[in-house]
Symmetry: C2
């Protein structure tokens, strides 16, 4: 099984020597508050769309400042195209990368997430954290920026419509492959299905609702129990 | 990469035709309250030890009735022996299964967990959910009982000393292998590092401690976001 297949991560070492290999990534970097950036409308008219800093600002306008150490994932609606290769790559020439058309992140947005919000990982529901047309110039600025900053990339995420844009916790439990440059992960999210019942005021008014309350950010310790 | 290597699961179909394959296991069955059964002392004098119903009773005496849909894992201390094959199998004859000596579950305890506590998964820090000497009679009662009841088995778990015996949540995010009889998983646990601050009385007395509070069992919804 290849390391970069299906839903998988790119370890920072994938682009930048000396950075974390798959088995070296601290497990605390493999989960975090979920930040879903929905660009489905924008992508409809532009398959070469790249998520902008403005898109991130709009998210914050709606939900408040992003939590630190989040997992930010673009929802472009692209996963509806799986497993049709021609649709996924936006091209009938599957061996010609410069013909590819699919959306991803703009390097400015990735840089902002790293510098301003100490992001844990950046993901896409497309084949790459750099958009399809990045191959034309053969420069992959998002990949190299992520790698250089020891930030994990996640590719081929799916089912993002099921996750709230704010308030989930996303887990990226990549297999701990020795010496790996990436690896497959069963990515999943948890969230509260009754968020209206979980604010502090409601709990203080009604002690029984305590047992419906979960602040995921207080799940402070993760502990590996695999080999 | 083989399906049954390193820390991995056995899908119910592994022993019982018609039961869940790896990709068919509902994701809700792949996490749950962690129940760690510590039998390290008993194993020291008996490498053929099998966890008994009495061991489960002792856990409940200490922590109260087990939550439903838990992930119960034996902590025999065996993971200290990784990766020494002779120590893991308790035998120098690695090709002769009937010479193996390592602990696991007794089928009566597994049956009790299924019937009385609706367990989600049963795990071991050894090579098999049946003890080493099961090979002598070539009967693997725990495997078949788990399979017949569509319950997941987990083998080669490690680092169990780091997880509290009660109060964690354990995740078993096995790769979603199509048609699989098992598969590797980056198994991990979450738990509160300040449990004393998280009881209801303390919270009601001090509203700021709300933000340290997590009842993991209220993380009701899991959502797959992989392929």
């Amino acid at each position: 099984m290849p390391e970069h297949m299906g839903t998988h991560i790119d370890a920072p070492v994938h682009t930048t020597q000396g950075m974390w290999k798959t088995d070296q990534i601290p497990i605390e970097k493999l989960y975090g508050p979920g930040v879903i950036i929905n660009v489905k409308e924008k992508v409809k008219s532009n398959p070469d769309y790249r998520v902008t800093v403005e898109d991130l600002m709009m998210w914050e306008k709606k939900f408040g400042e992003m939590p630190r150490h989040a997992i930010a994932i673009m929802n472009s609606g692209w996963s509806d195209k799986y497993p049709n290769k021609t649709q996924i790559f936006g091209s009938t020439q599957h061996d010609n990368a410069s013909s590819f058309h699919f959306p991803s992140w703009h390097v400015d947005a990735v840089t902002w997430l790293i510098n301003k919000r100490q992001i844990n990982a950046v993901g896409v529901d497309t084949p790459s954290t750099d958009f399809g047309q990045a191959s034309v110039s053969a420069s992959f600025p998002c990949h190299t920026t992520l790698g250089r900053n020891n930030v994990v990339g996640i590719e081929y995420v799916a089912n993002l419509d099921k996750v709230p844009e704010n308030g989930s916790t996303i887990y990226v439990p990549v297999l701990k492959l020795f010496d790996g440059s990436g690896g497959p992960a069963r990515v999943f999210a948890t969230y509260d299905d009754e968020p209206n019942k979980t604010n502090a005021a409601a709990i203080l008014a009604n002690p029984t609702s305590l047992f419906r309350f979960a602040i995921y950010f207080s799940m402070i310790l993760l502990c590996e129990i695999g080999l």
